[in-house]
């Protein structure tokens, strides 16, 4: 239990997908102008990463490893991720058309989010069991969502700040992102192993 908790804290905070592994930077800069859209995107990505990691683990264990097809890993995972996104889109549409109307816009963007593939490949390196790998993927995506929401909150405040014209817009956003990354480096002091 303790190992699980430490692994999840490590995945979410210490080795954060965005600020430590530099994955998912497109959505990090593109969808963080408002907290609500960042939270929506974060939750959608969390769902897709977790569901696709479940499928990736099964494919890796029962297909790629079993038949010595490890060299097809990246291509297979891309296919699995695209299928997971499509599955999510169809399911949300079936569960509630109103929810699909409201949230459907985030889903196609996730297919091309490198954080999803990055986490799937990290799982293979980890050689974990099914539950551990799913929890690792969930914690990684929670870390992703957390940073998205924090950064969106900072950018909302930046709009109200008196920023010099030269730094207004993306430049100050990049500077703030750098400071946020340095702040997250503080978590590396937590011993997770």
């Amino acid at each position: 239990m303790k190992e699980f908790a430490l692994m999840m804290i490590g995945a979410a905070l210490v080795n954060n997908v965005i600020l430590a592994r530099f994955l998912g930077l497109c959505s990090f800069m593109g969808v963080t102008t408002r907290v609500d859209t960042a939270a929506g995107m974060g939750l959608a990505t969390t769902f897709v990463i977790t569901v696709s990691s479940m499928a990736d683990w099964a494919v890796q264990t029962y297909l790629l490893n079993a038949y010595g097809l490890g060299f097809l890993r990246t291509v297979t995972f891309i296919l699995v991720i695209a299928s997971a996104v499509q599955f999510t889109e169809m399911t949300i549409k079936k569960v509630s058309p109103s929810l699909f109307q409201m949230l459907g816009i985030y889903l196609p963007l996730i297919t091309t989010n490198c954080a999803v593939l990055g986490v799937a490949l990290l799982l293979v390196e980890g050689r974990m069991g099914f539950l551990a790998s799913t929890m690792f993927a969930f914690a990684s995506s929670v870390g992703y969502s957390l940073v998205m929401i924090i950064f969106a909150g900072l950018r909302e405040r930046l709009v109200l700040a008196n920023v010099p014209r030269l730094f207004a817009g993306p430049p100050i956003a990049f500077i703030v992102a750098g400071m946020l990354a340095m702040a997250f480096m503080g978590f590396s002091g937590i011993a997770t192993s």
Partner: protein, 182 residues
């Protein structure tokens, strides 16, 4: 319905609760119902290549294209402040409250995940095998989706999932300018 009533003043906009706004185009008006299609928004904001990367897809209609996705996301507004004032091709600004968006996202994505992870953890604790854990988690996900469906029905009954008409869009208004304004 007068033109002014359909275009609230900027002062009255600030009185309404914070909402996520988007631009939609009127595609059909029938009686008291107005059918709207959301305008395509760019994934990464306003990069220089967004026009070239979306233009071809936007023009074509077929499975997986932007056009087909937009058609799938068409929605209807019942009598939005007197639907007689609307005509096809008109651009309007619609919005949903921030709280509704967050609760919708929690319902659609959070609830099934919680069910799946809880079911997977319980199955692992009881049986301890990967295959059974996988089946347990898939069952939990299914149950979670059913729970999400029930919650979504409740939200829809309260009208929290329906976009509201806010105002007519000015000709130079785009999703980008809406974000800057908010």
């Amino acid at each position: 319905m007068s033109r002014d009533a359909l275009n609230p003043s900027p002062a009255s906009r600030h009185l309404s609760p914070p909402s996520v706004e988007g631009i939609a185009r009127v595609v059909r008006v029938s009686g008291d119902q107005v059918w709207l299609e959301p305008e395509q928004t760019t994934s990464c904001g306003h990069c220089a290549s967004s026009a070239s990367c979306a233009a071809g897809a936007r023009a074509a209609a077929g499975i997986g294209t932007v056009t087909s996705r937009l058609q799938a996301r068409r929605f209807v507004l019942d009598n939005p402040q007197g639907s007689s004032g609307f005509h096809e091709g008109e651009r309007v600004v619609v919005g949903v409250s921030e709280r509704s968006l967050f609760s919708a996202a929690l319902t659609a994505y959070g609830l099934p995940l919680v069910f799946a992870l809880a079911a997977g953890s319980v199955t692992q604790a009881v049986y301890g095998a990967d295959l059974t854990t996988m089946l347990g988690m898939a069952g939990g996900l299914f149950l979670g989706l059913l729970a999400a469906r029930l919650k979504a029905r409740r939200l829809a009954a309260r009208g929290e999932l329906s976009p509201r008409f806010l105002r007519r869009a000015s000709p130079d208004e785009t999703c980008g300018t809406l974000e800057e304004r908010s």
